[in-house]
Amino acid sequence: MQFLRNLIEKQRTLYHAKDSRFHKVWPLFDAFETFLFAPEQRAERSGTHVRDYVDLKRVMNTVIVAMLPCLLWAIWNTGAQHFAAWASLAAKAVAEGKPSPEYVAGWLQSILAPNVMAPSAFDTVVFGLQRMLPILIVSYGVGLGIEMLFSVLRSEEVSEGYLVSGMLIALIVPASIPLWQLAIGVAFAVVLGKEVFGGTGMNIFNPAMMVRAFLFFAFAAQMSGDAVWVAGNQSPAGVPGSLIDGYSQPTALAIVKAAGTNASEVLAATYSHADLFFGNIPGSAGEMSKLAVLLGAFWLVFTGVGSWRVMLAGVLGVLATAVVVPVAAAAMGLAATGPMHIAPWEHLLCGGFLFGIVFMATDPVSSPETSTGKWVYGALIGFFTVLVRTINPAYPEGTMLAVLLLNAFAPTIDHFVVAANIKRRLARA
């Protein structure tokens, strides 16, 4: 360790002083150095002399730890869904008397060849890694690259905010996404969603959700529909992405959307509640297992890093809205849709709401800062999520739109809470 310190101290002279050779890229050196060793600053000699051991690195690291169950499940289930889909395609071909389709191996599988018809746990993980690793690398590589560039331009220390965003992004896109689209999305969101506002702490919208929104509207074919939720190794003609040619499987919410008043039964015919809860379903990488999300939520709330108010308010908002909407729609003479006819708690099991409220809505920068504001904000995210799911004719899922909408209104919500505080103060006079 001392050896490492000495080595870094020696390099430091090349970067630190104003007139040193590489001073322009001092923020990069600093980021690297403080990644290894805690910074050396000490408290000023008047005022507060001691500081908590927590820094922003640890806060971000705590969120990353909270996302690990989701990531691990994403790696496993991406593989599991892939091989299950392949098996069903092969079975279908046999039933129709056609020749079994030929399996195309991916880059990692070309070294570690899978047993396609009876994949082992190892094969499953290999496929999951084969998709998730490049996505993580592109997400972090592009995002951190841009962050570092802007830090150098501003001569500011590199902020840790993107460490969480990078992981979030990997978990909220389908594992089949073409990497170039992901790279464009990340670049767009980090530059226009974050850096133009001044970087970490200054952005209005959650950067990871910006990536998803950009991809959703720019490359709708890769972000919605029934074909993209199970990853493969093929790029069918005219459709970029890593897919299984000829395979499609709707998500739970798409099934519900297409169903009528018997939506609950239709859903149960495809996915059991246990499948939905434990995550044995296709979907975006991180949203699948509600159990993994809940483990993360517990860790965030326990450590005090994530706001339990936002999470609880969001869940209550979903439940309340899901109870009210069918009644209100009937009273207003609106057509009943499938999502109005699943149980309120099934709204929590379907889609990405839980992931969104636990990991995206709680982003401290883009959510309200007052406690009262957090309740309102969380509840409204739940409300709009269900509203989009039930009333909107096109989108099966509403979490992304709800979070972004409320990100935009977070300062407004706080404004009213703060105004009430001011009013209380004036009332004393």
Partner: protein, 450 residues
């Protein structure tokens, strides 16, 4: 008696508590009075090097209020009068005649007599006026606005802080005399805040003429800002005065004896302190007076005050005018933890449970002065709010001050806090923002514009 329970806050469990044993410190060879402790004054020296002064003789006055003087805490020859830039008086050092075997002589001080205005002049002339501080802003009282109420603080919840109740044991007569003075100074009530179910309070609870309020809960339950907010929040335009129980005893001592109360009670604490305990010591003595010759050496920081709110002094520096406690902690120079942010860290003090020390809730921590992180823009994970028991939204207050929007900052509660009240926010902040400094900047700007 009313009991107030504070729930938001945090007690820093630091190692190095002062032992509850009072001993007399030896007479110091010299004593010093420094002007840096009194921001905003324009001092004019009344003595020069070589003069001989008696205890209680004025050393300098404030040109903004010529009645306001600071007195010699010892008798003897003026050893040094130090000036800074533009001949700004910095420090006056007196050789203590008593330590050299001489006798202490006492200057004639004005007596507390006559009407309220005469009493104010007398306190100023006795060098004791700075003991009283004004809320809002938390500085020496200026102007002649009569305070709505006076808050005497009989507790201190800061980490390793001296217990005022212990420090004034056996001084009931002084306290009662002091209360008599305070009652002449305000038309309103005189409040005494005490720790609920605290020790050494039997005499305090018998005091006449004060309304006692009990406070329980974690720091900042023992700060006057918290007390005012719970007992009688100030309306716009009102001022309150605040002083500590030890200072009330000094006022009373002067009222009873007519002499300058040169002896104070100081607790020496902190993990790096060579000895720990309470000392009866002359105001302005060198810190070494308390350690019986054991030098405070090495990589340590000596703080006049506590770790959350205090002023670092040199290891051979002097106790301040206000000093009720000295805290000595390691400085931590050059220590840099490898992967400090990523390892579980079972032995590091934190408010957050993302540091694994919550597994050992009883442990006492040795804490040094490192920031443990880099400065970042505000990322509010709600930590400030969870340690501030006032009805204030701290992040909005800080932003208003940073935007120099003092009108808005006042609306948001700037006048209800001082740097001391938000010190815990500074402590817990993962972005290492010095909230106290920002609040003081806001208050300075308020004074300038107000």
């Amino acid at each position: 008696m009313t009991t107030h329970t504070i729930t938001k806050g945090f007690d820093l469990r630091l190692a190095g508590r002062a032992e509850a044993k009072l001993q007399a410190a030896p007479e110091p060879r010299s004593v010093a009075v420094e002007t840096a402790e009194f921001p905003g004054i324009k001092p004019k020296a009344l003595v020069k090097e070589g003069d001989t002064v008696a205890t209680g003789q004025p050393l300098f006055l404030d040109k903004l209020d010529r009645d306001l003087v600071w007195c010699a805490p010892a008798s003897g020859r003026i050893a040094k009068v130090e000036f800074g830039e533009r001949r700004f008086l910095l420090r006056i050092e007196i050789e203590n005649a008593v330590a050299a075997g001489g006798k202490e002589t006492f200057a004639d001080l004005p007596k507390p007599a006559g009407d309220r205005a005469a009493l104010v002049r007398a306190i100023k002339g006795a060098g004791l006026w700075p003991l009283i501080r004004q809320r809002p802003v938390g500085k020496i009282v200026r102007g002649d606005q009569v305070p709505t109420a006076i808050f005497v603080n009989g507790m201190d919840s800061a980490p390793l802080a001296a217990d005022p109740a212990f420090a004034v044991q056996g001084r009931k007569a002084d306290l009662q005399a002091g209360i008599g003075l305070l009652r002449q100074l305000t038309g309103g009530k005189v409040y005494l805040a005490l720790r609920a179910a605290g020790d050494h309070q039997s005499e305090l609870r018998d005091l006449q003429g004060v309304e006692v309020h009990d406070f329980r809960g974690p720091h900042p339950s023992g700060l006057v800002g918290t007390h005012i907010s719970r007992i009688q929040p100030l309306k716009a335009g009102e001022v309150a005065w605040a002083l500590r129980l030890q200072d009330l005893a000094r006022l009373g001592e002067w009222a009873r004896t007519g002499r300058y109360p040169a002896l104070t009670t100081v607790a020496l604490a902190g993990s790096a302190a060579p000895v720990r305990g309470y000392f009866r010591v002359r105001q302005g003595a060198a810190v070494a007076t308390l350690t019986a010759g054991k030098p405070i050496a090495g990589d340590v920081r000596v703080i006049d005050g506590n770790v959350l709110h205090g002023r670092a002094i040199a290891a051979d520096g002097n106790l301040g005018y206000y000093c009720a406690g000295i805290t000595v902690i390691p400085e931590g120079t050059g220590q840099r933890d490898l992967f400090g942010w990523a390892l579980p860290q079972f032995g590091k003090l934190s408010f957050s449970r993302s540091v694994m020390s919550w597994l050992a809730p009883k442990r006492e921590y040795v804490v040094d002065t490192r920031l443990n992180g880099g400065h970042r823009p505000i990322v509010n994970i709600g930590a400030w709010e969870s340690v501030l028991p006032l009805d204030i939204h701290p992040s909005y207050l800080v932003r208003a001050i940073q935007a120099n929007d003092i009108e808005e900052a006042v609306k948001l509660g700037l006048l209800e806090v001082t740097e001391e009240d938000v010190a815990l926010c500074t402590f817990v902040d993962p972005c290492k923002i010095d909230v106290g400094r920002i609040v003081r900047q806001g208050l300075d700007l308020y004074e300038k514009e107000g």
